[in-house]
Each structure stands twice: as C-alpha cells, then as structure tokens.
Amino acid sequence: MSGVRVLVGTKKGAFVLTADGARRSWDVTGPLFAGWEIYHLKGSPVDPSRIWASQSTGWFGQLIQRSDDGGQTWNAVGNEFAYQGETSPHQWYDGTPHPWEFARVWHLEPSLSDTDVVWAGVEDAALFRTTDGGHSWQEMAGMRTQPTASRWAPGAGGLCLHTILIDPSNEDRMFGAVSAAGVFRSDDRGESWRPVNKGLVSSPELPEPEAEVGHCVHNLAMHPDRPDVLFMQKHWDVNRSDDGGETWHEVSGDLPTDFGFPIEVNANEPDTVYVVPITSDSEHFPPEGRLRVYRSRVGGNEWEPLTKGLPQENCYVNVLRDAMCVDHLDPCGIYFGTTGGQVYGSADGGDSWDPIVRDLPAVLSVEVQTLP
C-alpha cells in the first residue's frame, strides 16, 4: 500500500511523520538534529530513500545532512559554500552597499533525474549546486552576478534565495525567487538568469511599483503537467503567470487579505491552488484569529475558505513560505506547519483537516514524499 513521509524542519530540529495511504494514523519520529535550526528537508524524486537536510545554528554555522535510507540514518556531507570570484555588494537595509556574506541554506531542491545533483538556495542570495552527492558545492554564479543584483536588498528575513522550481518537461528551465528581489528564470540549467517580474506591482513598498527587481516574492508553485503556469504568493498579492514567468497578473480576487507566505497547487488538479492568508505585513497572524486555508478551483480570483478541523478562534500563528506541500495521492493530501508548532494534514484536498502533531518547535518547512 502506498504511503507518505512528511519531512518537517523546525527551529529546534527535524521530525518525520509517516502514514499509509489512508493518512489517518501517523507515526512521529524526532527530533533529529535536536537543537539545530532545520530550514529545509527534501527527498529525491528519483530515489525517495535519499533525503537532504539543511542544518544550521548561529553558533556553529551550516551543515548539510544526507540520508540514504529514508531518514533512518544521516551523514554530514560538504558544507563549504564559497561565492565564486569577487563579490560586488548588494544594497543593505539603509540603501548602502553591503558585501555578500553566506549565512545559511534556505532551500534544497534535488534534481528530477540525478540522485547526486541538488540545488541549494542560500542567504545572502545565491544558487549553489552539488553534482557529487553533496561532497562539494559550486556556486552557479550567473544568479548572483546578473546586472540587477547590485539593486537587491534583504527582506525582513534576510536576502535569501528561498524557492527553486525545475520544469519537469525541460530541466534546462528553472525558476528562482529571491526576497526582496523577485523571480528569476534560467533556460540553460542554472548557468545564466534573468529577472521575470513584468506585471508585478509592489506599492507602496517600492518607489517604482512595477520595477524590474525589488519585489518581495514569498513563494512560487507549479503543477508538473503545466509548467508554463506559475502561481506566486508575493508579500502582498497572489499572482499568476501563464507564460513561464514572462508576464504576471494578480489573481487575489476575493481573498480576505492577499498577504501570506506559502502557495501550492493540487497534484491532481492544476487549477486548484491553496494559500494561507495572513492579516498583513505588520500582523503576521491569520485574520480574526481564525486559521483558514483558501482554495481556488479555477486558478485564482475565486477563493473559498477551508476551515473544517482548523482552529477558528484565538489562533495567532503564521505559516512560513516553505511550510506547505502536497502529496501525489488521490485525493490529494495537503500539509502545512505553523510557527506555533502544529502540523495539519488534509487527506481530502483540503475539505477537512486534522492536526498530525500539535506541539513541535516553530515549523520552518514541510515537505512530503509519496511512497510506493
């Protein structure tokens, strides 16, 4: 029988939640790497027994862990992330030039075709790649050295490359998102990049609201069967592109607020999209203290609240950008984690929810593997 393995990164370690295909009864293991910040874990789509984890603390820096047995055992691999060549400055919060400095790995994106290849999005924003199973990491400097990079500035969470999407129909085509710079596209497997932010509007956050770069893109989502269609949760605004990022248009529609962090697409329905509205950039909690996932079945603009099983009073948690994911079962399972340490799951496309665990450390990321 098929099953799922949910990989949860938290402020104080990692947890692995497993269930069979019914997704009703869960086993919880962890904490792994207790006491460390685990920004992200993700399994290889080629070999689900291979899982990667980004482990860091402010004290002892960055490590990358790799499991080859589905998370039972782990080994530290290479952890040197050296920018290639001279690093020209980016903008600091006050507008002054600031040198590029490595802080941590935010996101690990395993290759769709090679178990030894993984992409890493880091802070300060840059893209790295390993081709030898994590033993060494090389910067794909085309991201950081593009002409717009000197105008990038950190968001509140730092200047981070937090989202990496790979087109499954053409692995040469990739998308990366940087806060606060925008979306970038590569058509040569990460060698060179260009901004693709036309149509985004950030007002009043940017003096030039439709600027080429400077947009605080929070997260991107793509359905593998329709890779030209991208969905975006921006700082404010939910946006959609139908042409591989060349142009964007807003699809916030009737959402109660269009601020938020994660966005996902149902694995079986390319027009079914999920977001978690958050009150505002000043109040990072759900409107009215009611935790609601919103679902659009028509690719945006028309949204319905999903509340069954979610707290509808006195709830003031946040859901971070990498903390929501979907499995590939039918009906599609959806999972998200909160800064309050809850991980919720839905086994029916979002119609109803149950807490899988309630009292973890603040959740930084949630990924799921669909197992044969």
Binding site: W59, F60, G61, L63, A76, E80, A82
Partner: protein, 98 residues
C-alpha cells in the same frame, strides 16, 4: 596529548565525549590544535572557524586556564598547562539566547 573540550552540539556531530585528545606536532597554538581537530573530525570543518578564512565564528569562544583566549593571535603559543595536557583547551558556544 592535548585535551580539547567540545560543546554539546559539536561533540554530537563528532560522535565523541565532551573531551577529545589530540597529538599536536610543533608549537601548541589555537591554529595547530584546531587544524588537528578538524583533521581528526572532518565534520567539524566550518563549525568552529569559517571555511577559507579560518576566522573564529562570532559565537564561538576559546577558553583555557580560566582565561578567555578568543581574541588572541591564533598563532600565539597557548599556556604550558595546555601544551602539557594538564588543562584542556575549551571550545565554547557563546552564552546567548536561542
């Protein structure tokens, strides 16, 4: 033998107890101890000192003989008690919340 005490997270990474013993050739300095420590336990590379720069990470401290040596020249010889193995060279996670 040089005695090196490691903080909780680093001893877990290295799979050791709280203290390890190292043979250090030549002058006993912060650099020579840490070079040998990283050679013996490669997983610790980058966790105490930065890759490339070999600079002490900001929230790591070095203590020995009731003194904070964190700001000393990494090539300065350490106290004779450390070189003789009577006192440990202590790698400390700085006291700060989190």
């Amino acid at each position: 033998m040089i005695r090196v005490q490691l903080p909780y997270h680093l001893r877990n990474l290295a799979g050791t107890g709280s203290e390890v013993e190292l043979e250090v050739e030549g002058p006993v300095t912060q650099r020579s101890i840490l070079d040998e420590l990283e050679r013996a336990y490669p997983v610790l590379r980058g966790t105490i000192r930065g890759h490339g720069t070999a600079d002490r990470r900001p929230f790591v401290r070095f203590f020995a003989c009731q003194e904070d040596l964190s700001h000393d020249d990494p090539d300065a010889e350490l106290p004779a008690e450390v070189a003789a193995g009577k006192e440990p060279f202590m790698v400390i996670g700085a006291m700060s919340g989190g």
